[in-house]
């Protein structure tokens, strides 16, 4: 629909919309995160849901204690290599469409513990992350900002066409490889498939710092 016509009609008190807009409007305002905290960032995540910052304003106060009912995984904190398979398995168990926010330096890259032998250097090695929030830990405002970014992202998703999101593509994988505990490291150490998907989605492949590769 022509945008100018739409604006003109709305001036006359006539609201026009498309099924896609309506669907995404409903979806972006009812993103239910999973009750899932890994480290100190989780404390900030909890604060975000409480009265002072009130994530309920964005329709996301319902933290679901089951991955089956959750839309959003907030990876809030350091992902140890012992925890990584569980995180990926939980992500796999979430119903489509599902989104991931990597909260804080640790979830993005390992953060201050990057050199640690037991720390995963970014959860995006195994699961596709939609929004990264820097910070150590990020303040609740930053999480809210990430949330609004995710809402904008959901709002822009097309239901049909070639650039439709991953969950609407029948060929896109529903599950990602769950790493196993190897002799010295997780096996596989990362899942390149994740980055192929991410590059396809927003075609902004960032140069990643792999200095801490082990």
């Amino acid at each position: 629909m022509d945008q100018n016509l739409k604006i003109e009609l709305s001036k006359q008190g006539i609201v026009t919309t498309t099924l896609e807009e309506l669907y995404n409007w409903g979806r972006k305002n009812s993103v239910w995160p999973m009750t899932f905290g890994l480290a100190c960032c989780a404390i900030e995540m909890i604060a975000t849901t409480m009265a002072r910052y009130d994530l309920a304003r964005f329709g996301a106060e319902v933290f679901r204690p089951s991955p089956r009912q959750a839309d959003l995984m907030i990876v809030s904190g350091t992902v140890t290599k012992k925890m990584a398979p569980q995180v990926v398995r939980l992500y796999n168990q979430m119903a489509e469409p599902k989104y991931v926010i990597a909260m804080g330096a640790c979830a993005i890259s390992g953060g201050p513990f990057k050199q640690g032998y037991n720390v995963l250097k970014g959860i995006d090695r195994y699961i596709p992350v939609d929004v990264h929030i820097p910070g150590c830990p990020p303040r609740p405002e930053a999480l809210i900002d990430a949330f609004m970014t995710l809402q904008r992202k959901i709002d822009e998703q097309a239901l049909t066409g070639s650039n439709k999101p991953r969950h609407l593509d029948p060929d896109a994988p529903s599950e990602f490889v769950v790493p196993r505990y190897g002799a010295h490291d997780l096996d596989p150490p990362n899942n390149p498939e994740v980055w192929v998907i991410l590059n396809n989605i927003d075609s902004c492949g960032t140069g990643r710092d792999d200095a801490g590769e082990d």
Binding site: E96, P97, L168, E175
Partner: protein, 126 residues
């Protein structure tokens, strides 16, 4: 008369149908939407029973000791017995010999059961 009764229930029937419609319509719409737009993406991990990120190790049905249940059932039986004993006690002075013997027989059966359970070692907590 019959006609008026049928008429008075008609709004309730209509409301019941409307209520069911409100419940069923969103489910049907969601199903239709899923058919049209979102492909099903099942998977081995996604369909697992346990949903806490850990792999389930054993079978779901665990072996458990039935002792507690026997204990509980015996308690329940004597609990119910009290319900019968109370009216018996209230009406005791006005009763003839027949009902008293019947009641004592009932008590004897239960006491026998208790003795049997005792002999089986149900009352001994291992």
């Amino acid at each position: 008369m019959n006609q008026t009764v049928t008429d008075s229930y008609l709004p309730i029937v209509v409301l019941a149908i409307a209520a069911a419609g409100f419940a069923i319509a969103p489910l049907l719409l969601a199903q239709l939407w899923a058919k049209k737009f979102s492909p099903r993406k099942p998977g081995a991990i996604k369909n697992t029973v346990y949903e806490c990120g850990l792999e389930s190790k054993d079978d779901g049905p665990l072996p458990f000791r039935p002792e507690y249940y026997l204990y509980a059932i015996i308690f329940l039986i004597f609990d119910v017995e009290v319900i019968f004993l109370l009216p018996f006690a209230v009406a005791f002075t006005g009763l003839t010999i027949g009902p008293v013997i019947a009641m004592l027989f009932f008590l004897l059966l239960l006491a026998e059961g208790l003795v049997w359970a005792w002999q089986k070692g149900v009352l001994t907590w291992v």
